[in-house]
Amino acid sequence: MSVAPALTASLRAVGLIGPGLPDWPTAAGVLAGGEYAAQPTVIPALECLPGAERRRTGTVVRLALNAGLEAVSRGAADAAALPAVFTSSGGDGLNCHEICETLASAERYISPTRFHNSVHNAAAGYWGIATGATAAANALCAHDASFGAGLIEALTQVQVEATAVLLIAYDASYPDPMRSVRPIPDAFAVALLLAPEVRAGALARLTVSVTDAPAARMDDAPLETLRASVPAARSLPLLRQLALGTAGRIVIDYLGDQRLSVEVA
């Protein structure tokens, strides 16, 4: 049996939206030791979609796209030329709830928009329409391991295809009654712009391998609650390391029986 080799990429930029964390600079300030004031996540409107498409998008799509746009903008990248990896545990939970309610009624008429928004790759589809990106776009799910699964997919693309890749991990609350069986308290999205080669202005080099060491936790109780309750926020220990601007190795959650070790250099 061979030893699991590592995947590596240069991190060019981050985008982030979370509760009390409107963007990456604010989040970086909090994660580097600033005070965290938890507030409901505010998801901005999307200016980049045509009016008709904009009216059809739900908050979850706006969440994912805004995080992606922030990373692309901070990394001065051309969104239209980037492959993208979207990963989410539950996708658009409100849309799913509305469909199930309709199907439980006598009428069973699902609107066409509601149906095409129900696909797990809805955010990827709207991203293409919004940015003109015609490269490959992926749409992953791995329940609580969704961030780790997305990170692995993005890093293998960087390494094998020798291309920059945009990773967007996002999750939002279900309404009741699904919320009671899958309690995700609020919306959180993080986008990482990853590339094969180091370029001036890169934030760090990431080297990822599978480990069975335990995952790092957040010292701040509300941030730890966020990390443990939102799959996309399992990225927080990595984001804290980036915010501190220091080299180090951290472990983040992945599948039930394994974690990911991330070397930040």
Binding site: M1, S2, A4, P5, L7, E53, R56, A80, G90, G91, I99, E101, L103, A104, R108, I110, S111, P112, F115, H116, S118, V119, H120, N121, A122, A124, G125, Y126, G128, I129, T131, G132, A133, T134, A135, A136, A137, N138, A139, L140, C141, A142, H143, A145, A149, I152, E153, T156, Q157, Q159, V160, E161, D176, P177, M178, V181, R182, V210, L255, Q258
Partner: protein, 396 residues
């Protein structure tokens, strides 16, 4: 890319459980589609239902995963010695060196649809409802990992009807990057109300068994399937005839959520990327398994894309007239059908189609055609403009 070997593979759909039954139905040019009598559905349409799933409860130790989709997955894993082949593979490489990449569009949502009819007075779900094991999109991969004892990296790809084609691309990157030594790939999608009523609301469901590329085609027939393959590096001493994955190509339309680019822009890009990945030219493809859903717009866009990339002379067919559109399982099901075509030197006909649309510049096979095949291409295109083309061949 370096070719990968499909060291085991299997498919279960309305045309048969396992490879022998699937091949037999294709060789006989039969369709598995029948008038819809599924659950409480009252739509006037045909479906490709896998018989026996209602009474095929999961073993008690897998009860947390109970849902139609995982029942179909288990039925599929039990065909053609697939589970045994994976066990041998785990012995060769180690449990953590084998990954799982599977596609599904709706996972176990049928359970959720039924649970919503049984909500309590406060709107609460029944106590038996299982989110992680049945509803969540990852349920399929978690289930298959547990059944097979695989412990490497895992993900579900859920990009609508390209899902289980794209798993081949993700898995081959993971092998190429040496993250894993082998990968279980595949797709499972099962009948549910969301897709039947959803496609109906888009007026994309045919009342008759679907007729891809027919002049009178008027929509899809929804089917269900489980298809799996075991991908490994090509061994030094590879048996002649071993099925090979030669190339993968992915693209996005960046056009519309539910209709393809009319000129097939994204489809062209996916096919060209797959050819480039395989180091092949357009004349190297002997047969095309079309995405061919049977809607007027999809087939027209695909025909234009194929004519522009491979030329209109390459024979092809859509096997959805036989199997129905199995959505998130279609990519893997049609990948397995491509390997059957290679193995048996038989290009399967597109059944149900009686008059090929003269407006489509396409070489469409309405009858089975025996021919030695070296390389075949399979197309899978989904909502959100998600496109994937795969190229398969055989060793030696």
């Amino acid at each position: 890319m370096r070719p990968l070997a499909l060291t085991a593979y299997t498919a279960t759909s309305c045309i048969g459980r396992g490879l022998a039954a699937t091949h037999e139905t294709l060789a006989a040019q039969r369709s598995g589609l029948a008038p819809c009598a599924f659950e409480t559905v009252t739509l006037d349409t045909s479906v490709g239902e896998v018989p026996g799933l209602d009474s095929a409860a999961l073993p008690a130790e897998l009860g947390e995963f109970e849902c139609r989709n995982n029942r179909l997955a288990l039925l599929g894993l039990r065909q053609d010695g697939f589970a045994d082949a994976v066990r041998e593979c785990l012995g060769r490489h180690g449990r953590t060196r084998v990954g799982v990449w599977l596609g599904t569009s709706t996972s176990g949502i049928l359970e959720t649809e039924i649970a919503y009819r049984k909500r309590g007075p406060g709107g609460e779900l029944p106590a038996t409802f299982r989110y992680r094991g049945a509803h969540n999109t990852f349920s399929l991969a978690a289930f298959v990992r547990q059944v097979l004892g695989v412990a490497g990296p895992a993900a579900v790809i859920s990009s609508a009807c390209s899902s289980s084609a794209k798993v081949f691309a993700s898995a081959r990157r993971a092998i190429e990057a040496q993250l894993v030594d082998a990968a279980v790939v595949g797709g499972v999608d099962s009948l549910c109300l969301t897709t039947l009523y959803g496609f109906n609301s888009l007026q994309l469901v045919s009342r008759t068994p679907c007729r891809p590329f027919d002049a009178a085609r008027d929509g899809i027939s929804i089917g269900e399937a489980a298809a799996f393959a075991l991908l490994e590096r090509v061994p030094g001493s590879c048996d002649a005839g071993t099925a090979l994955l030669l190339g993968t190509g992915e693209s996005s339309d960046a056009h519309h959520m539910s209709t393809p680019h009319p000129q097939g822009r994204g489809a062209r890009a996916a096919m060209l990327a797959a050819l480039a990945d395989a180091g092949l030219g357009p004349t190297d493809i002997d047969y095309i398994n079309f995405h061919g859903t049977g809607t007027p717009g999809n087939d027209a866009a695909e025909a234009r894309a194929v004519a522009a990339t491979l030329g209109a002379r390459v024979p092809g067919s859509s096997t959805k007239g036989a199997t129905g559109h199995t959505l998130g399982a279609a990519g893997a099901l049609e990948a397995v059908i491509c390997t059957l075509a290679l193995r048996h030197s038989l290009m399967p006909a597109g059944v149900n189609t009686t008059q090929v649309d003269p407006a489509l510049e396409v070489h469409y096979l309405r009858e089975n055609r025996p021919a030695p095949l070296r390389r075949v291409l399979s197309n899978s295109f989904g909502f959100g403009g998600s496109n994937c083309s795969l190229i398969f061949g055989r060793a030696g």
